[in-house]
Symmetry: C2
């Protein structure tokens, strides 16, 4: 056998034991008579000590960082004063009897010790196999494995069945683009990689599986965005004969278990609920970050009594006015405020209005338009205290919401209002079923076309579909949607109506979803489900903002694998077997 | 909440309890005054009793099979004599207070009760969501989930890390064809779906992950074969700093756990080992079924003393002669023997020779060519007893082996020599590293090009590569290879040499595996691994010979999804975005 112990597991209990260890040379310090080697494996680091008078070989002198060696030796206590308190094995060391080189190493293109941010990320991705050696990345990969196991354990204990659904599926493009796979046996025909196992999990419910889960890999051929990867993992859960309370319960106990058993955080359950409408009103978003205050407060009723003509005109055109109170914000510089204004302009807001209270004095560019009563009302409504900065936005509701939501989060970040270990969960409920696609003046699904309207709103589908609310439930954590759930439509006629309302022709419906509409007619149980974004959840658990950190072999923004140099050209024989021709041959410029 | 209990969990302990149940109408028997309904869910079946004098509604009379209902009622003991011993809930029934129809059902195109074999499989696949309701299929899906969980539990407890590797990979076609995925952002370039995560798992070892596992979905675009699916699942395990004994141990404890905790079978470990050479000698195959005897026995040394010219001539040309002794086979009819001859002809064997011993009399078409000594030697070597049939094959070694291996298994099947619950495992070791591709007179890898030669055989690579043996270990169960493992090459120079011996040009090596050859130079630990065919394992555990039975949504032999009608045509916009054109538009004739 190669080794008797891993580097990390040796303790003072092993003193005087003869051990065999394997690992990478993490560091070598050569003092002539004595050579120290820090030996590293996944489990830890231990100090080897070589007395060159007893053991003098050219081989030992040749050792370099990242070489792989095997060493026999005796565990002993370190001399007093030589302990390393930063190391789990810092009280002991190995008195080396022999060293064998298992594998040499070229000098790595970047240091295995250095902080993430030091090395160019493209270089790290090209040498991902070395990047993975770094503790920072390795810990995340290991945590991801732990979380996946916790998920499976909780769900299995609750009678859920893990079912693997196909990867070679049918193309039904809505919203996102499908990745396609040409069929060789049937030229001109294509499979598509699944954007989600939505239909399959519903078919499993029709099949009586009752409680299903899966950690499927899903695919969307979308345009590059920082927190997106062409392939991503969901935690996909579906259950029959259950109500939303059952779904909340299982999702919450899963989350609680994950946070407790991996990062030792106590999640308080039940998690509170917030209406979609209230979230937009108070936070300007359906993904509110509740770790800090600065809620959005409506003040158009107060400001319509001002004499500031711009507000008055906007109000007449249907604008709304909201404000946030930035505590201790009065000392923001002009530069800060200009930056805020620049930011909100990108959301279509024309400008911001500021009110400061400093040294008990109110100041504002619109002060002359506000009488005493207005100021008093504002002070009361916004609970203005000395040192506060009030930021006011006046425009169409969605522009105001987007702007203040963004500002609120930016200011919280700049002012460090969020503690690292603060995890604030909230369920958002009572979403609208549809939203208006203003460009085409058509309806689109707020969640997806399989989401059930509330029973009481069924009658609105024909008359006022935009007023219908959905049985949809999002789980939000610190401003991120980590899961989206809903009751599914289980009646064939309603499913067909929803497709029609979403502007699918009868022909489209038949071709893409005909079999599913038919399947619903064979005794479909009421069912609901939820899907967690596993990568996103891992980002939050490991406190990284780089999605590539939580994926073992990630791709770049543009979907390139810099290590394997993929995608790549393929040979003519492969293409002709698939009955396809390429219309372009784009050279990729690899690093 | 919809239900208080599942149908299967109610017992005599619940008598007098008011319960709410949901499920499918499995059967309805209408006796006018009383209606019985068997209500079914995943957990079991329970009898509902409706007293139509107390509860008479048109709705209840309208109920049909497979409708979904909810029922309130009181649990009560069945009247004496009315118990059903075949049912877990057979001593109780539900005195129904109310019934609510949740969902109606069209009449299913086949009965949910009927045996697999009755219904045309294509119809079952088209309506897979109904097929899944059948106990036979549902049990297999549930068992598969259990096995997957056991695998993860054992491996996690043994410090293995589950890592998900990419599905969008690079095309490196050897052996099997890749499924390709056109890149939209880089026209003319393609991803490939992975045939196995081989490179990734080795890169994880280079990255220091030490112990990895995954249940990856793998893809091979091969020609149709009965036990193949275009996508299939492996149990993929890799470990560093370990010897084959460590690998055997972890694989065996996993197998033991699976068989014990799912079908309550005790697997005796350690599992015995057999040399590849011995397996071929005794069983004619490297996948021997050890549940029965009938070993192949070499008899050319005896028969060269016969005067049967055909044997003598063949022996001169390098043929071998082997025989099997079929106990109690002397009563096989002429028709049986003719069938055997027809079978072996398909393997290239010219014919078989038979010797019978019946009523203590030896008979054979070649008897006149055998003297007393030869007969006595044969009787001794083959342990011929009264009633035995000896089948003799004389030809080139591989033809004899293939023929007798096939016959041996066929006869065992026909004579029911295998007990259903007999599981005979064996490790096959000491495989050759290469085999000769006779068509092209080139070498091909017996396992795959990453398999390490034995250390002692390194020197043979240049001189006599066909004599080099591999550090490869297959796990065989009842005649099926359920896992293939090997030590991997961890030296860059040897890996390159192997690729060269396999006739890859330097250019090919660089383009396809250049980055990997380079990766091996950065301190690669010695490592080995094994991959189980999960679908095959499930077939053996659930005793089915149909691979589609153990997959929730299988495809046909030709890769068609009969339920979704996939693959399918896609629209021009999709193709032009991907910079491809089709050269064929093949209509698929759906059922």
């Amino acid at each position: 056998m190669h080794r008797t112990h891993t580097c990390g597991e040796i303790t003072e209990n092993n003193i005087n034991l003869k051990v065999a260890l394997c690992g990478w040379v993490n560091k070598r310090r050569d003092f002539g008579k004595i050579i120290f080697i820090d030996l590293r494996d996944r489990f830890g680091l231990i100090q080897l000590v070589i007395d060159t008078e007893k053991l003098n070989s050219e081989e030992i002198k040749s050792l370099r960082n990242e070489w792989v060696i095997k060493s026999h030796g005796i565990v002993r206590k370190r001399s007093p004063g030589m302990e390393n308190r930063n190391l789990k094995t810092g009280n002991i060391e190995i008195d080396v009897l022999s060293i064998e080189i298992l594998s040499e190493s070229k000098t790595p293109p970047f240091s295995i010790f250095e902080d993430n941010t030091v090395t160019n990320e493209e270089l790290r991705l090209k040498y991902r196999f070395l990047d993975i050696r770094r503790k920072e990345i390795q810990e995340k990969i290991i945590l991801r494995s732990n979380v996946a196991f916790q998920v499976r354990k909780v769900l299995t204990e609750n009678n859920f069945i893990e079912v693997t659904t196909p990867v070679l599926c049918k193309s039904t493009p809505e919203g996102a683009r499908d990745y396609l796979v040409p069929s060789r046996l049937f030229g001109g025909n294509f499979y598509a990689l699944p954007q989600s196992p939505q239909l399959f999990k519903q078919l499993l419910m029709i099949g009586g599986i009752d409680r299903y889960f899966q950690l499927p890999i899903c695919f969307r051929d979308e345009d590059p965005r920082a927190d997106r990867q062409p392939e991503f993992t969901q935690i996909d859960i579906e259950m029959s004969f259950a109500e939303k309370e059952d779904l909340f319960k299982i999702a919450e106990s899963m989350v609680k278990e994950i946070f407790k058993n991996t990062i030792n955080e106590d999640v308080k359950i039940p998690i509170s609920k917030m209406f979609y409408h209230d979230a937009l009103e108070k936070y300007g978003t359906d993904k509110p970050d509740l770790r800090f205050g600065m809620e959005l407060i409506r003040i158009e009723d107060i400001l319509k009594k001002s004499t500031f003509q711009i507000f008055l005109d906007s109000l007449k055109e249907g604008a709304i006015i909201k404000a946030i109170n930035v505590k201790c914000g009065s000392n923001f510089s002009r530069k800060n405020l200009d930056e805020f204004t620049t930011i909100v302009k990108s959301f279509g807001l024309k400008g911001l209005t500021f009110i400061k209270k400093a040294q008990n004095e109110i100041s504002s560019s619109i002060l002359k338009f506000l009488d005493e009563k207005v100021i008093k009302d504002l002070e009361e409504r916004l609970q203005i205290e000395d040192g506060d900065l009030i930021i006011i936005a006046c425009d169409k509701e969605d522009i105001v919401n987007k702007s203040l939501d963004h500002l609120r989060r930016k200011i919280a970040k700049d002012k460090n209002l969020c503690k690292e270990d603060d995890f604030k969960f909230v369920w958002i409920v009572d979403f609208p079923l549809f939203e208006l696609d203003k460009e085409n003046n058509t309806l689109s699904a707020c969640h997806h076309p399989f989401t059930s309207p509330r029973e009481v709103d069924l009658k609105l589908l024909d008359s006022e579909p935009l007023k219908a609310k959905a049985e949809a439930y999002d789980l939000v954590l610190n401003g991120y949607e980590i899961a989206g759930g809903s009751k599914r439509i289980f009646r064939s006629d309603i499913q067909k109506k929803i497709f029609s309302l979403l502007n699918l022709t009868d022909n489209d419906i038949e071709e893409k979803f005909g079999f599913f509409i038919e399947a619903l007619k064979y005794g479909t149980p009421p069912h609901l489900g939820i899907a967690f974004g596993f990568d996103r959840l891992m980002m939050l658990l490991t406190k990284t903002e780089n999605i590539r950190d939580v994926i073992a072999f990630p791709k770049t923004l543009k979907g390139l694998d810099l290590m394997m140099n993929s995608p790549s050209f393929v040979n003519e024989k492969q293409l002709s077997e698939l009955s396809i021709k390429t219309t372009k041959q784009e050279d990729i410029h690899w690093q």
